[in-house]
Structure formats: structure tokens, C-alpha cells
């Protein structure tokens, strides 16, 4: 645990390309350093996309197992973080297609996304409706919106992760937001533009 904290608080002693080379040579310490540096954000992304802590853990693990297994293919054209997040989005998308039907049904019954008490200024009903509206967005719109508006990725980063043009990414975000506005219009008429 101490090691995790140290690794997160201090920059690499060696550069990321050097760490990658060491991992390729079988160095577990280097692998752990890469993991410590990138796993919190990978987990956050996986959780935001799934809304389920167990699945997020599983997908984070899958992401790193795949990443270490395919590290030789990483050519450094993009940042390692971008490459990792691309794997995460792919892992999550593939797996969630399988469970989506049941997740949707369960959502009706047990509300798997408890609303946090943060942000007390917003009407809880409106907030809950917004959360459900985000859940109901088509996958590509939802992923784009979550990455941009919730997790703070730039359009450039999202475009690289999703393998699309930046313009496509902006267009998807715009579509996603338009759908959210339309969904919320009956609760907050002033949102209808």
C-alpha cells in the first residue's frame, strides 16, 4: 500500500518508454509502476461507464491484463494513457452488451445508481431524471458524454480513444446533450430550446 502511495505521489524515476521496455523484458516492478500511475483513472472510467464497482474492478483488471499482454504492439503513436483508455472502453463496451438487457431491468427495480448527496443545489428529481437519461443514451453518445462532461477528457483525447475524428466526437456530444435536454424538458421547460 505504501508503495502505491509513493508511486502515485512521485513522478517516474524512469521515463514511461523505459518502463514499457522493462515490462516487455518481464520486469514486474516496472509493470506495477505503470499500473499505479494509470489504474485510478482506468477504474474511474470503467465505473462511470458501468455504474457497478465489481464490474469496474473486473474491467480494470481485464484492461491491464490485456495491456500487458499486448504491450509489444504499443508503438507510442499516442500516449500510453490513451491506449489504456481505448482498451478500457473496448472491454467495457464488449462486456456490457452482454449484460445490458438485465442491467436495464434491474435498474427499474433496485436503482443501482444511488444519487450522491453532493451538489445540493439541484432538484433531486431533476438530477435523478438526468442520470436516467444519461443511462438511456445510445452507447456511443453516452460514452462520449461521460468522458467529456463527467470525466473531463478533451475532444482530442476522446477522439483518439474512440478512433474517430474530433468533429465526430463533438457532434456526438452535441447529439447527446440535445437528447438529454429533450428528455428533461417536461420537468424543466426552460431547457427546451
Amino acid at each position: 500500500m505504501t508503495r502505491t502511495v509513493v508511486a502515485l505521489q512521485t513522478p517516474y524515476r524512469v521515463s514511461e518508454p523505459d518502463l514499457i521496455a522493462r515490462v516487455l523484458a518481464g520486469d514486474r516492478i516496472a509493470a506495477r509502476e505503470l499500473y499505479d500511475a494509470h489504474s485510478p483513472r482506468v477504474f474511474r472510467l470503467a465505473f462511470r461507464l458501468t455504474g457497478d464497482a465489481d464490474l469496474a474492478r473486473e474491467f480494470t483488471q481485464d484492461t491491464f491484463v490485456r495491456a500487458f499482454g499486448q504491450l509489444a504492439r504499443f508503438r507510442g503513436d499516442s500516449a500510453l494513457s490513451t491506449w489504456l483508455h481505448r482498451i478500457t472502453v473496448t472491454v467495457v463496451a464488449n462486456a456490457m452488451r452482454k449484460v445490458k438487457r438485465f442491467r436495464e431491468r434491474e435498474t427499474d427495480l433496485e436503482d443501482v445508481h444511488p444519487v450522491s448527496s453532493d451538489g445540493a443545489g439541484v432538484d433531486p428529481v431533476l438530477r435523478e431524471r438526468l442520470h436516467r437519461a444519461i443511462d438511456d443514451l445510445p452507447e456511443i453518445y453516452r460514452t462520449t458524454l461521460i468522458m467529456h462532461d463527467i470525466e473531463g477528457y478533451t475532444h482530442t483525447e476522446i477522439a483518439e480513444v474512440m478512433g474517430v475524428a474530433e468533429g465526430t466526437c463533438k457532434s456526438r456530444l452535441s447529439q447527446a446533450r440535445a437528447q438529454l435536454r429533450a428528455t428533461l424538458a417536461d420537468l424543466a421547460p426552460e431547457l427546451e430550446s
Binding site: 502505491t4 474492478r57 491484463v65 452482454k98 449484460v99 427495480l109 426552460e190
Partner: protein, 224 residues
């Protein structure tokens, strides 16, 4: 104003929508290290409990598990062949016995390797038996733990089959994927499950036409 209000909502969502918990990085790392660098990794005997990933555990134990299930399948097939059909067996299991007893007579043109076919056949029969019995057992509130336990076992075998040549056939793969979802639901049934839980499972079975497809698959594989 409109934009401001919407932006305010989205800013709120950034703090409230699926707010991530603190991940247990150490536990996840142990599983990753085991899968990526081998069993001897970092005192890898420390198991992560529920955090142990399905994918990783499959990678780690896949061949051992497949070998074990195949051995059991072949052994049961031979026993079934020597005993013939027994009336005490449920109908689905009886058809499995026939299927298990006959692979030696099948031609090499079968699309599945024999061991996989035997295991698939057994698995389909047992799954059919469970799903057919589910409504009455669950309605009566009987044997919930047993149901969940059997479903859990079948769920594991579903995943093994999905990763095996048995899933090369698209029709079989689709069926296995649907069964995976249904069995996951059954495995999660609690003692205090509501009527709605069962209804959801039944609805899933009906909407996906699972039972008829399952019966067809059992019949097909037995007839091969």
C-alpha cells in the same frame, strides 16, 4: 439562461452521476500480476475474493477446468452407456445420457470435437432441467440456495464453453450467451426474492425464446 441551467445540471452530474468509490488497487494488482506474470507473482496465493476477475480466473484455470469437466463428461458417458437409460433420470438427463453414450459412433464430420460435444450435451441437459423446474420451485419458495448454487455452477460452465470450440457455431454461441444472462439472474436469487425477480427471469426466457431453443439444441446434439 437555458444553457446556464443545463450546464449547472451537467456540472452537478459530474459530481453525482455514478460517483466512483475508492478502488482497492492492491487487490486488483494481485490478480493482474497473477494473470500477467504467472502464479508465483508477488505471493500470488493471496486470493482477492470476489474481486478475482472472471476473465483472469478463466485464463488461469481454463485448461485445468476444461480437462476436469471433460473427464467427468466422458466418465458419465461411459457409465450411461453401460447402464442404458434409467427411468429414474429426469427426461433431460436421459437425453444427455444417450448423447453421451453415442459419440463414439458419430462420424468425424461433426462440427464439435467429441469431448466438447459430450460436455455441451450434458451442460444443455442440466441447464434445461434447471430452467424448466425453476418456476415451480421458485414459486413454492423451495431450495433457493440449491437453485442458486446449481445456476452458479452452470454459469461457470457456460463461460468455459463460450471460450471453447463449442461456441464456434454462431447459433450455439447465441444460445450460450443468452443462457449466461439467465443463469446469472438465477444465481443471484436470494431467499427473500420477490415475485418480480422470478417474473423478470421468466420474461427473459420468453422474450429470448430460450427454452425452445434449448430444447432444439438438446435434440440436435443428441441426434448427431
Amino acid at each position: 439562461m437555458t444553457e446556464d441551467r443545463f450546464e449547472e445540471l451537467m456540472r452537478d452530474a459530474a459530481h453525482t452521476y455514478r460517483k466512483p468509490p475508492q478502488p482497492d488497487l492492491e487487490t486488483m494488482w494481485k490478480a493482474i500480476e497473477r494473470a500477467s506474470f504467472g502464479a508465483s507473482a508477488g505471493g500470488g496465493s493471496t486470493h482477492a475474493g470476489r474481486s478475482k476477475p472472471r476473465g483472469l480466473s478463466l485464463v488461469a484455470n481454463r485448461w485445468v477446468a476444461i480437462a476436469a469437466t471433460l473427464l467427468v463428461g466422458v466418465a458419465l458417458g461411459r457409465v450411461s452407456a453401460s447402464l442404458g437409460r434409467t427411468s429414474a433420470q429426469p427426461a433431460a438427463m436421459a437425453s444427455m445420457s444417450v448423447a453421451s453414450a453415442t459419440p463414439a459412433a458419430r462420424s468425424d464430420s461433426s462440427t464439435l470435437a467429441q469431448p466438447y460435444e459430450v460436455e455441451t450435451s450434458r451442460y444443455l441437459g442440466q441447464t434445461a432441467a434447471l430452467l424448466i423446474a425453476l418456476p415451480s420451485e421458485a414459486r413454492a419458495g423451495r431450495a433457493d440456495e440449491q437453485l442458486a448454487s446449481r445456476a452458479s455452477d452452470l454459469l461457470g460452465r457456460t463461460r468455459l464453453l463460450l471460450d471453447s470450440p463449442a461456441a464456434n457455431d454462431p447459433t450455439m454461441r447465441n444460445l450460450l450467451e443468452d443462457l449466461e444472462l439467465v443463469l446469472a439472474q438465477v444465481a443471484r436469487l436470494q431467499n427473500d426474492h420477490s415475485r418480480t425477480d422470478i417474473d423478470l427471469i421468466n420474461r427473459a426466457l420468453e422474450q429470448r425464446d430460450v427454452l425452445p431453443r434449448l430444447r432444439t439444441a438438446v435434440a440436435d446434439i443428441s441426434a448427431d
